[in-house]
């Protein structure tokens, strides 16, 4: 079942491309020229994204490399130890809204440190899998269309992310027993 889903996941992209090109060809569209036109727009969009990506990378880099993240985790650590939750999961929870690659790296570290089938490993996996990188996604998506007033979007994203984090901490241990 899972193997089939994986195969589907790998086949979906090439087949989708084939379907789109086929539909274009059938309508006698100039597919090559349309592709170039769209790709040009795509390049322009991405150039507009560069400052947003730069701002995020710099801020997260400074926050992690300065030791501020570790300090925050060690300050909140006792509360987590009291609740019998490994403080490493807090690091993951704090990184997750900021950076997909940093949180994926942390998840991989946690899986190796505690074992992928341990309570911590499973909880970390669920945290990693069930939420999006709120800040990154928001600045990328809104930045690409130059929206300045985000209304409640950030608040909504962070509340969702926090609820998923708490739910993951509760559900993780149940999956192992």
């Amino acid at each position: 079942m899972i193997d089939r889903l994986f195969i589907f996941s790998q086949w979906a992209i090439p087949l989708l491309i084939l379907l789109i090109l086929g539909a274009g060809f059938k309508k006698k569209l100039k597919v090559y020229e349309l592709f170039i036109e769209g790709a040009m727009e795509g390049i322009k969009t991405t150039i507009r994204l560069a400052p947003y990506i730069l701002a995020i990378f710099i801020a997260i880099g400074i926050f992690r490399n300065s030791g501020a993240l570790d300090l925050l985790v060690s300050l909140l650590g006792p509360l987590f130890t009291f609740l019998q939750i490994p403080p490493d999961l807090l690091t993951l929870g704090l990184l997750k809204p900021l950076s997909g690659s940093a949180s994926l790296g942390t998840t991989a570290e946690l899986l190796n440190k505690f074992g992928p089938d341990s309570v911590t490993g499973v909880t970390a996996s669920i945290i990693q899998g069930s939420s999006e990188t709120t800040f990154y996604v928001m600045s990328l998506y809104l930045g690409s269309v130059n929206i300045k007033n985000a209304r409640h979007i950030l608040f909504m994203g962070l509340v969702g992310e926090l609820s998923v984090f708490i739910l993951a901490l509760l559900i993780g241990p149940l999956l192992i027993h």
């Binding site: 996941s9 789109i20 349309l34 036109e37 790709a39 730069l54 501020a68 992928p116 979007i153």
Partner: protein, 204 residues
């Protein structure tokens, strides 16, 4: 809000480094991350350009409209203001589908395409429209059936059952999506009430 968060991340980082006497780390960090950010953007440019090109064909050939029709009944409840059968519904469905099946690097180009289509429907160019807010709720939720990358790194770490997390991940991403949509619903409605109240005051 994003201004406060960005300010805090940078300034707290610099203060902590100053406090521990490791200020030189900051310059190094800026230097290496500035380079990484641009490298990352260039990598992203390729995949975004490719999919923007393919989606241009999809739009012209009517594929997005066909997809929109399939998901119309479900999406028209979430996006009451988008005209029926509008191609943007197709983009929204494709973005959600890409996330659902773990096609991470297609989801971003699709998402950006959706954002620009949503903006064209919006009257206020600087402010996120209602539909944009709802779409962001769906994106943040990140509904996923096959978390491909996650299963791969679990297998790499030697898990006996790498796919154990599939059902919980789906359940929690669903919970997260619903919570987001609920907050979004409240925020949009509260907005209308205050807007309506203001209108009444003006009439008085």
């Amino acid at each position: 809000m994003i201004n406060i968060v960005w300010f805090c991340l940078v300034s707290i980082g610099i203060l902590v480094a100053a406090g521990t006497g490791k200020l030189e780390l900051i310059s190094n960090s800026i230097f290496s991350n500035a380079g990484k950010a641009i490298e990352f953007t260039i990598g992203l440019a390729g995949i975004i350009a490719f999919w923007s090109g393919i989606l241009k064909i999809a739009e012209a050939s009517g594929v997005t409209e066909a997809v929109a029709k399939v998901f119309q009944p479900l999406l028209s409840k979430l996006f009451p203001k988008i005209p029926k059968g509008h191609p943007v519904m197709g983009f929204i469905s494709l973005t959600v589908a890409a996330n659902l099946f773990g096609l991470g690097n297609v989801a971003t180009p699709l998402g950006l395409q959706t954002m620009s289509a949503l903006k064209m429907l919006s009257t206020d160019q600087d402010t996120a429209s209602d539909a944009t807010c709802t779409f962001m709720a769906l994106v943040f939720g990140g509904l996923s059936i096959i978390p491909t990358t996650l299963i791969a790194i679990r297998a790499q770490a030697g898990s006996v059952n790498p796919a154990l997390i599939m059902v919980p991940v789906f359940a929690l991403s669903l919970a997260g999506t619903l919570i987001g949509l609920f907050i979004n619903y409240l925020a949009l409605h509260w907005n209308y009430k205050t807007a309506a109240a203001q209108k009444e005051n003006c009439l008085d």
